[in-house]
């Protein structure tokens, strides 16, 4: 363990940890835009600058490893002014259209502008005017709002190994681009969007309804697709799912796939079954019925078949889709109530 002092408080952390990690251990807040503990240290945004006793210039705390007896200052007037200036520069060619931005209320850049009280900007000048023309159905890319933190590029490389995007051009023209500036053509896992600290990457799937607001309810649950069992958080407004994301501190580290992140539309589909249906005549149509009628009919027919042909003339197919409790109750129904072991599910398919 390495012992050091941060803002006059002592802390000991693992060797190889960065100063930023140590500060977070003490719950000292250092602003960042490009930092994500799930990605390799990068040091791009320079907001996390700190002073180290004996060093002439500030260093970025997210890329500087701790050392024994190091004395670190994370907040003073000088650092405040440096950070404020960096933010001012970032905002100098930002569209500032927070009122209609998809990420308002859930935007690191907006939060920092608020904390540093940045209403005016000393650096007025040329603005970036990139055209948006990406026809992919999942991810909205507005490079005018990009702060070039590189998180999206890194997650796509380090985590997904897909490398669908990278930095392109220089200076004011710098942007994150697909090869030959074509439409995004990747796995659409949305990891890039989930780490973006601004409104540069948002989703077309929940455009216009995913923004943080008072009536959104958050429910932690499990993805309904494959067997990985990823943790997801459903964002719902009354009885409608409006967005899905995943917390970074869970088993799947917040990473999802295209189905888990964007494939929730079925829940609120108008095609959902909303009432029991009964075929009253052989070869007739399925017609709406009450629960009472449906349950009575099933109970009657099952009893009838069991009486005439024995319990083994009935069988049940359970499901890899429903809960443990429901599967348990289903097999129990067949074994204890009907009296047969004719019960199976889709594991073979």
């Amino acid at each position: 363990m390495i012992n050091l002092t941060i803002d006059e408080r002592k802390v000991s952390v693992k060797e190889g940890a960065m100063i930023l990690d140590a500060a977070r251990e003490l719950e000292i807040f250092i602003p960042t835009l490009c930092y994500d503990p799930r990605l390799k240290p990068y040091g791009g945004c320079r907001l996390c600058l700190v002073e180290i006793e004996g060093m002439s210039r500030p260093v970025s705390s997210c890329t500087t490893p701790v050392a024994e007896r190091m004395v670190v200052t994370t907040h003073n007037d000088h650092l405040y002014r440096l950070r404020r200036t960096i933010l001012e520069l970032l905002l100098s060619d930002h569209p500032n259209d927070c009122m209609v931005c998809e990420r308002a209320g859930d935007c690191t850049l907006q939060d920092l502008a608020y904390f540093y009280g940045l209403r005016d900007n000393r650096f007025r000048g040329e603005m970036r005017k990139f055209e948006e023309h990406d026809a992919n159905p999942f991810i909205q890319r507005d490079m005018n709002k990009c702060v070039l933190c590189g998180k999206c590029v890194r997650v796509c490389d380090e985590v997904m190994g897909v490398n669908a995007i990278d930095f392109a051009y220089r200076g004011l023209s710098t942007r994150i681009s697909t090869p030959y500036e074509k439409d995004l053509d990747c796995e659409f896992c949305g990891q890039c969007m989930s780490v973006c600290p601004t409104g540069a990457l948002t989703s077309k799937v929940w455009a216009g309804e995913g923004r943080r607001r008072m009536d959104v309810k958050y429910t932690d649950t499990i993805c309904p697709y494959c067997g990985c069992g990823c943790n997801i958080t459903l964002h719902s407004v009354r009885d409608r799912i409006v967005k899905v994301n995943s917390r970074a501190d869970n088993g799947n580290k917040g990473w999802l796939c295209v189905k888990g992140r964007f494939g929730y539309e079925f829940v609120n589909s108008p095609d959902r079954l909303t009432t029991p249906l009964i075929r009253r005549e052989k070869n007739g149509d399925l017609e709406p019925a009450t629960w009472n009628e449906a349950i009575s009919l099933i109970a009657g027919r099952f009893e009838d078949i069991r009486y005439k042909h024995g319990p083994d003339a009935l069988a049940g197919l359970a499901s890899g889709r429903v809960t443990n409790e429901e599967n348990y109750a289903f097999q129990k129904f067949f074994r204890a109530v009907i009296g047969t072991n004719n019960i199976d599910h889709c594991a073979r398919l």
Partner: protein, 555 residues
Amino acid sequence: MAGLSTVFGSGAMSNSIEEIEDAQTLFVIGSNTTEAHPDIAIRMKKAAKNGAKLIVADPRKIPLVQYADLWLRLRPGTDIALLNSMMHVILEENLHDPSFIEERTNGFDDFSRGLKEFTPELGEKISGVPKDDIIRAARMFASSERAGIYYTLGITQHTHGTNNVFSIANLALLTGNLGKESAGVNPLRGQNNVQGACDMGCTPDVLPGYQKVTDQKVREKFEEMWGRPIPDKVGLTSTDMIGAMIDGRLKGLYVMGENSVLSHAHMSHTIQALENLDFLVVQDIFLTETAKLADVVLPAASFAEKNGTFTNTERRVQRVRKAIQSPGEALDDLTIIGMLSSRMGYDHVRKIVQATGFQALSSGGRYAYPEQAFREVCFLSPAMAGMTYLRLAEKGLQWPCPDQDHPGTPFLFKDGFPKGRADFTRVSYEPSRELPDSEYPLVLTTGRNLYQYHTGTMTRKSKAIEAVAGQAYVEISSTDAEHVGIGNSEMVTVSSRRGAVSLQARVGNIVPPGVLYMPFHYAEAPANALTNSVLDPICRIPELKVCAVKIEKSG
């Protein structure tokens, strides 16, 4: 699962997802992991970046191949020849783990005699994998301290699927890759709660917790709790149910959340079977192809509309939480089953609920809330005895978790196998049942793609997903395409002895010459109209991964 239960006395992923990152060698066989289990593939890619060796065995050039150190492009259905010849090399070069074999296994001598004939030359002849690659794979796998095997239905959906699983288990036993971290035999389960459905006893031979229905003591325990006699005869598997419907032994079927028409092999056969029933009940969230055939359709709640638990592929039981109300009169499955149980005169729930130490708020055959059913499961299955909703709240728990203080089990067999010693099984190669001939000259194999899910009941409702993956397709090699005169994106007809479908051709290098590939998500061009319903004799799994077909330009 039957395969693994036979060998180890337990059938599930032996190790955890998180451990993948620390493996030294990963052997992925019959699993298109990046598309079917994307989150697990993330770990595999991370492991490869950390320096782990990645061996991929698959006839298709699946996306994982680009991260692999070695790609073994075997012919569909020849896994045993490949695995046996790898093990032949391991024995020949003394790369096996004699102390593990000595201390923890049975049947090594007979098994090793069976490997004699499987030289790398024979392996190459049958599987098409160059013998040098077989030797390299054997060395790569056997020379690392922690080597894990990962597989899915590419291994099991064959007439010799159980033997494939035995063969995989043999490889792990031979190299001592069980009972430690970042190793093991790891079947990746394809659905959110298919592991749970197995754990809950939704199979014809076992009660919850893999307790055999043929065991009288087990039955007595359940009978006392449930207050009803339990039949001692093993029931029908889902695939055998189809036959029993056709010959009239089965009269009534109750399907909860399965689209059998599209998911079973040989679709016209499945439809004929369902139509032959006197009475079919389907409980689902949509009017699926199967529900359309039903006499009664019951509207169920989706995952977002209920409380409960799912068990993922690494045996982790996790909480499912209700976010919204169901549409219209749809009800969760637990409530529906409770209503039906009560109506059929079952009223034992109150007594059970009291026995498990819960307040008896329920009445008749109904549970008042899901945790009552969960408590009952945990009361009856020792591997889950230590679980409660409270303990599951944060990260879930991996079974076995036998008591309230047990932290759960990330990897199995640390202190031995449930049945004591694990068995080697002598496995010989048998070709798939339906091989190409002059009339049907190509092999069809089936699977999933990244965007759609299973029979598409859920994903096909998503406009964005449909925009990128809304069209059914068949993959064909450029060689075969040229031979038949098919261009990319042209409409083609693929037919087998059982049916024909029309869909778009994707010409490329993903499949090798002689092989076609179709995802089975698309009702308008169902892959299972073509597949062969012939079954593995032990597991009763249909041979969905190999059948003979022909392809023509649509007229």
